[in-house]
């Protein structure tokens, strides 16, 4: 835990501060910069979807269905491909590019919200277990074990099948199912931090337990959480795609990437691009999030690097 020194330890005037150091490391970190750059691009695309998307992602014309993407004009002399629909149209004649752009919104919304919910639940439980130990730890461990014994996909499928699916249900289900890593990591980090001198000092001068938890322990155990958060966000995005692919996630005509994969399933042999494009989109998004998380870990806690 050297990256974020306790606030009391003022840096020597000549040596650069930890933040400056971290920033320097970040700029030199190829993975982090690539991940952050791509993610920023996707984020901008999602936020500006109505401005960026060339067509309405929901309405198409059956007469213009299955137009191949622009490179089919260059490589295969396809007469139908053209710049009007640079990535072609789907089986209902909707613009593929616009659907991919709008699809990023769904992936990001689900990824971020599921990550926030599971992060909140997991870190609260982990913090309590790590700080108090004893019975609290036992109870939290019981919850974690219970959660770990539930197959995520199966439970998500069952819940969605029972309640019907909507964006809210999906976010809640994923949020409530993905908190275990947060709890485990948080618990271990808190146990370490709890026995450190500055916590003991704060305890000795009579700080209240909430103060100790929130001001002394929490800020110093956040680093490992960043990595877990990115992993879980990527996980939630992939799960959403899987559920949508199975017809139990986002409802058509929403342009979820998983749903786009499902809709193009039958084209896998002869129109590979239809299934490849949403697949690539998912791959790029998840990769960029993972690169970002990995980089953040390297930058903030370089001693953990392996």
């Amino acid at each position: 835990m050297t990256a974020a020194q306790p606030t009391g330890a003022a840096p020597a005037p000549v040596a650069p501060g930890p933040r400056t150091l971290a920033w320097r490391r970040a700029r030199g970190h190829l993975g982090l910069m690539t991940g952050a750059g791509v993610l920023a691009l996707i984020l901008a695309m999602a936020l500006l979807a109505p401005l960026v998307a060339p067509h309405d992602p929901y309405t198409g014309s059956l007469a213009r269905r299955r137009i191949p993407p622009i490179w089919h004009a260059w490589l295969y002399d396809s007469p139908k491909a053209g710049w009007t629909y640079p990535l072609g149209t789907d089986r209902l004649g909707r613009d593929y590019l616009s659907r991919l752009i709008y699809g990023s919104r769904i992936s990001l919304v689900i990824g971020v919200s599921a990550m926030l919910i599971s992060g909140f639940i997991g870190s609260t439980l982990g913090l309590l277990a790590g700080y108090f130990g004893g019975k609290v730890d036992m109870i939290v461990n019981f919850f974690v074990t219970t959660r770990l014994s539930l197959p995520v996909v199966l439970v998500a499928l069952a819940v969605v099948a029972l309640t019907g699916s909507s964006l809210l249900v999906l976010v809640l289900v994923l949020g409530l199912l993905l908190w275990d890593r947060f709890a485990v990591v948080m618990r271990a980090a808190t146990q370490q931090a709890r026995s450190l001198d500055y916590v003991a000092a704060a305890e000795a001068i009579g700080c209240s337990t909430p103060y100790l938890l929130l001001r002394e322990v929490l800020p110093n155990v956040l680093n490992p959480l960043i990595v877990v958060a990115t992993i879980e966000m990527a996980n939630a995005i992939l799960l959403e795609a899987a559920l949508s692919f199975l017809g139990l996630g986002v409802r058509p005509p929403q342009p979820s990437w998983g749903l786009m994969l499902a809709e193009a399933k039958e084209e896998i042999f002869f129109n590979t691009w239809m299934i490849a494009l949403p697949g690539i989109a998912l791959f790029v998004l998840v990769l960029s999030i993972n690169l970002l998380g990995d980089g953040a870990r390297d930058v903030t806690a370089p001693e953990n690097r392996n």
Binding site: Y58, T59, G60, L62, A63, R65, R66, W74, L75, Y76, D77, R91, L92, G93, G247, R251, P252, P253, A262, E263, K265, E266, E267, I268, F269, F270
Partner: protein, 505 residues
């Protein structure tokens, strides 16, 4: 021509050569490998309504009377002669020397046992329309039977030659039948794994003079693969010889494969939406209003649906029956043109200016259903799409749980409007209209021996169904088959592939 395209052709040629090898081996093994899409709940033809089940039955069992698949003329099957004694009594003389797969001889007792079993309502044959016209059957002598009808039923011979299969006297019901099906048909069942695989072997003692003829290919293996893409993978990899219900979009690409062929054939099947006019899925739901239903008819661009999605010879229809069926007359029924503006106006008149939310349930094709969804959305109706496996969906449909059901019906290939209109509009589980007037007309039409009376009453019923907009008739069907070039295949307009006719080239 782009270089990549050329490379693509080379790749395809290589793939074709690789895939061709197993097909040759298949010819040597004399085993036809077929893939079906749907899980048949029970192979007993009286207890499932799936086309796959109908095909199964046509291979394992025989009819008293067989209908020629090309001319639709009746030919002697298990009965060599049949004669109407009066409007409600039919005498049949049975063929002698016929044997069941287990070696037991066929006789009047088998026919009487089968017909009496299925005619009893408490035995709950799934589609009562197929069987409830029979009152009972009795033995006249060892090779003669007499069938009594409740009321005159003119399409009786048609039904005897399609949905009515004859079982053996040892038949005890669907449970046993699903384990050890015994029939007289050209193939006997060698192995059965429900929901997974069926294996058939040629039945060498299939009776002489059968209109079906003896099976040419020794063995047939049917595997059930519920996913269209996986099915196609099997065909492309040379692990299957015959597929059906192939996605129309893939047909041209499959046709380009050197070792594969495709056949597209119009069939008696029609596609439609059933609107919950009776409020079975929820009393007083918006679909119970006539104007809402009419709005839906105006909202759907059926022409574009047929041309772009169903493709091939498919046509738009304006009545809830197949055009060649006796009594299927849409001349005076209202025709609803594609007109979203009018649809919106009708919705506003019905009290839904901003549309409403509902559910659209289907099984056949996600793309087709989403196209309907998009058309409904354009006039403000927000229909949540729910794709389900066919057997599950039919159960929910019959329970009254589907606000809008997108289905299709092949009428068991019976060329008579009663096989569809009277199945869906006579107050049974499949009826979402529950219109007494329609039922009355259908009763007259179903049970009159006068063709003119029948036609007039079906017409009245169809007119009312379309005025009330109980159904949205969509299209006639085209069934697409894909098979290895090795197989001498042909499609039939009654949508029953006949494996016993096919042979290797």
């Amino acid at each position: 021509m782009g270089i990549v395209r050329r490379l693509g052709w080379v790749g395809m040629a290589v793939a074709a050569t690789l895939a061709a090898a197993p097909a040759h081996a298949q010819k040597a093994k004399d085993e036809l490998r077929v893939v079906w899409r749907n899980v048949i709940p029970n192979v007993d033809p009286y207890f499932n309504g799936l086309r796959d089940g109908v095909v199964f039955a046509h291979h394992v069992w025989d009819h008293l009377i067989e209908r020629d698949p090309d001319t639709f003329a009746y030919r002697p099957g298990l009965a060599t002669e049949w004669k109407w004694v009066d409007d409600t009594t039919l005498d049949l003389t049975l063929r002698q020397g016929v044997r069941f797969h287990d070696g037991s001889p066929f006789g009047a007792e088998d026919v009487v046992h089968t017909l009496n079993y299925i005619a009893r309502p408490e035995n709950k044959a799934l589609y009562q329309r197929n069987t409830n016209w029979i009152r009972n059957a009795e033995t006249v002598d060892a090779h003669k039977v007499r069938i009594h009808l409740h009321r005159p039923f003119p399409p009786a011979i048609e039904f005897l030659s399609l949905p009515i299969f004859i079982f053996s006297r040892s038949y005890t019901g669907p449970e046993e039948q699903n384990k050890r099906p015994i029939g007289t048909g050209p193939y006997r069942v060698a192995a059965i794994e429900p929901g997974k695989e069926y294996r058939f072997e040629r039945f060498a003692e299939h009776y002489e003079g059968s209109p079906k003829g003896k099976a040419r290919i020794g063995k047939v293996q049917v595997r059930i693969i519920t996913d269209a893409a996986t099915e196609l993978a099997e065909l492309l990899a040379g692990r299957a010889d015959l597929l059906w219900y192939v996605d129309a979009d893939q047909v041209p690409s499959i046709q380009r494969q050197r070792n594969l062929r495709t056949v597209s054939a119009e069939t008696m099947r029609i596609g439609y939406l059933v609107l919950d006019a009776a409020g079975r899925s929820g009393a007083d739901n918006p679909l119970t209003r006539q104007k809402v239903r009419q709005a839906i008819l105006h909202a759907i661009d059926r022409k574009s649906f047929v041309d772009n999605l169903v493709q091939g010879e498919a046509r738009v229809i304006h009545a809830p029956c197949f055009p060649t069926q006796l009594g299927c007359d849409d001349t005076s029924a209202p025709k609803y043109a594609f007109d979203p503006t009018k649809a919106k106006a009708l919705l506003a008149e019905a009290g839904f200016p901003n549309g409403f939310r509902t559910q659209l349930m289907a099984f056949r094709s996600r793309v087709w259903t989403e196209a309907i969804q998009a058309d409904l959305k354009a006039v403000g109706i927000d229909a949540e799409v729910n794709m389900l496996p066919v057997a599950t969906l039919i159960q929910r449909f019959q329970k009254g749980e589907t606000p809008i059901y997108q289905g299709d019906w092949g009428s068991f290939s019976v060329n008579d409007a009663s096989a569809i209109v009277s199945t869906f509009f006579k107050g049974g589980e499949d009826d979402y209209a529950r219109d007494r007037q329609v039922k009355e007309w259908l009763d007259i039409a179903d049970n009159s021996n006068d063709v003119a009376v029948r036609k007039a009453n079906y017409k009245k019923a169809i007119d009312r169904i379309m005025e009330q907009a109980y159904w949205v008739p969509l299209n006639t069907f085209v069934t697409n088959y894909a098979h290895t070039a090795e197989l001498d295949f042909r499609a039939y307009k009654d949508e029953i592939p006949r494996y016993f006719v096919y042979s290797w080239k």
